[in-house]
């Protein structure tokens, strides 16, 4: 399993299995948390589906409902908004085809400095990748020329 024997076949089989699993996951996971725009376009198909909007902005607030704009669509949400108009939130609820609307289950306001937090995280992550790659190069050296010489000697 870990030898060089049949190396190409092993490489191909691993790639094929990963691709097959991705296709399987895509099909099986289609009904889980679909994008909002798909629900709005085909409301009957996604009726009663559990939805999670990681990021949405409150457009308007009424008595017992409010309207949010996610990245790809707008929708009415039945429930109480945790933030004022213009505020950002994340929410989870059940999509109903009549309306269409979302029946709110849970929501949470997002911090106003979300962009700065994300930027800091990205910068730290890039630095981490650079440090890890530097450490990796200390222990593993990719030398294609040496490999080629080694191969030609084998022949």
């Amino acid at each position: 399993m870990f030898s060089n024997k049949g190396y190409g076949w092993k490489l191909g089989a691993a790639l094929a299995l990963i691709a097959a699993m991705g296709v399987y996951a895509a099909r099986k996971g289609e009904s889980i948390n679909p994008p909002l725009w798909r629900c709005v376009v085909e409301p009957r198909r996604w009726d009663n589906t559990m939805l999670w909007l990681p990021y949405a902005r409150v457009v308007s607030i009424h008595d017992a409902e409010f309207e949010v704009a996610a990245t790809d669509a707008k929708i009415r949400v039945i429930g109480k908004s945790p933030v004022p108009v213009g505020g950002r939130l994340t929410l989870r609820g059940i999509f109903r085809a009549d309306g269409p609307r979302i029946e709110l289950i849970e929501s949470r306001s997002l911090p106003s400095d979300l962009g700065r937090r994300r930027l800091l995280m990205e910068v730290v992550s890039v630095l981490v990748v650079l440090v890890v790659l530097a450490n990796f190069m200390r222990h593993f050296i990719l030398r294609p020329q040496v490999l080629q010489v080694h191969r030609s000697e084998e022949r």
């Binding site: 870990f2 990963i18 099986k28 989870r92 289950i105 997002l110 937090r117 730290v124 990796f136």
Partner: protein
Amino acid sequence: MPDLFTHLVAARAPGIFVRDKRIQALLVIGTFMPDIAYKGLFWVMQTRETFGAATHSFVGVLLISYLCCLFVEESIRKPGFIAFAAGGWIHILVDFIKFNLGAGSCRPLLPFSPVGFEIGWIDPENVVLLIPIDAAILAVAVLLERRFARVQQ
């Protein structure tokens, strides 16, 4: 995903018990593999989000680890595979701490079940607050590692 620093520390701390520095490096790279594969599929291959979900499952990590270990020299391929897989599984466990309102931070049981799972200790937007804690854990881990190395000498 929490920031990569949290993932790094989560793999590097148990990594002090790995004597071979090469295997230790593979363990650390292994912990980034689920995200590298996921982001690669999403941004480069333009696949759907659900396609990449398999990269954050226990079986998916095994397959990716096997693929990755084929690129290291034959003599350390088997321990390399174990290191990659351990790193990947640590990654999934760390992802569990996020709170996605019960939607699940990843789907670890794919392809057997698409159910999402999360422990929900920290909001995704607050993982940045873990950085000082991570730095402290990393410092202690490196200190302990150096002390162990001196004792062995």
